[in-house]
């Protein structure tokens, strides 16, 4: 595949960084979107360049329409139209539903789900013109099986699945596939705060007996973006080491 412009949202660390570096290793031009951590975003950009790709960083709150539109305009000017969109940006605001404040709900829905709608809509124009595109969103086993304390996160992640299936049906005839990769427990900052006991107990329920690595999510995303995956759309690929079985 010739070098394409790949936008990865929330790519300053964790799974987003691994995805960005993976596309870099495939020789693509990677745009690293981040919310506020410019230094970390630059480290992700360095990882992309080291792997063999081109990189630029761009700060934007992907839950805000004006910020998303401005971001896409800038990317088109500096690198070209986005051909592969990876909706990875995500936050958690965990709490038992009974105690969950409206802001906790709204913030998670905005950053995790509204962002998917906003970025996909902004990317679609160029993908339709090119009659080729890949929209891959990062879901979660939480959205498939539910998780106590994550009613908001699970709702957003489950929402991504319904959204992706619908969009897949709308644009499939134009060579654009829309899929979801749903990670299980992956070793990143998001799970680092869980503590040894929770992690060990999680591993006991995972068929392969360990947490996953960000690279293992990145390679699934990379596959779905490839020409080989042109007949896969509206799907959710669960990468959880056999947790949600």
């Amino acid at each position: 595949m010739e070098p394409k412009v790949v936008l990865v949202t929330g790519a300053s660390r964790g799974i987003g960084r691994a995805i960005a570096a993976h596309f870099g290793s495939l020789g693509h031009k990677v745009v690293i979107n981040y919310a506020s951590n410019a230094e970390a975003a630059e480290e992700s950009a360095a990882a992309v360049r080291e792997a063999g790709g081109e990189a630029m960083t761009i700060s934007a709150d992907v839950g805000v329409a004006a910020a998303v539109d401005a971001m896409f305009v800038r990317i088109a000017e500096e690198m070209g139209p986005v051909a592969i969109l990876v909706n990875n940006a995500g936050i958690t605001r965990d709490d038992l539903m009974l105690r969950m404040k409206v802001e906790q709900w709204d913030d998670v829905i905005a950053t995790n789900l509204r962002s998917v709608y906003l970025c996909s809509k902004a990317a679609l124009r160029a993908m339709l013109r090119a009659k080729w595109g890949r929209i891959i969103s990062v879901g979660s086993v939480s959205g498939i099986a539910g998780n106590p304390g994550q009613a908001n996160y699970a709702a957003a992640k489950a929402g991504i699945i319904g959204f992706s299936k619908s969009l897949a049906k709308e644009v499939g005839s134009r060579g654009i596939t829309v899929n979801v990769v749903a990670p299980g427990f992956i070793e990143t900052d998001m799970t680092a705060g869980l503590g040894e006991e929770v992690t060990a107990s999680a591993a006991a329920n995972i068929a392969v007996g360990r947490l996953g690595q960000p690279d293992e999510i990145a390679s699934a995303v990379g596959y779905l973006a490839s020409e080989d995956a042109a007949y896969i759309t509206g799907q959710t690929v669960v990468v959880d080491g056999g947790l949600a079985l």
């Binding site: 124009r125 339709l128 013109r129 005839s173």
Partner: protein
Amino acid sequence: MERSAIELKMVDLLVEELGIERDKIAMTSKFEEDLEVDSLGVVELLMALEDNFDVNIPDEEAETITTVSEAVDIVEAKVNA
């Protein structure tokens, strides 16, 4: 810009972007019934019109377009505004 120039370009875009046979296209043709353009196709055509004529067609106006000549009307109004 002359209406006839817009009409010519419109037909070209319908042929190139949506793969419609040139001799099927009349100004009175309805996109969905006569030209078998699906709803996504109309959106794609309007995007091509925006890019070609350097105009902006808001969604509310785009939704009213059902025939080729209505699309020409809107482009003509925007281009000559």
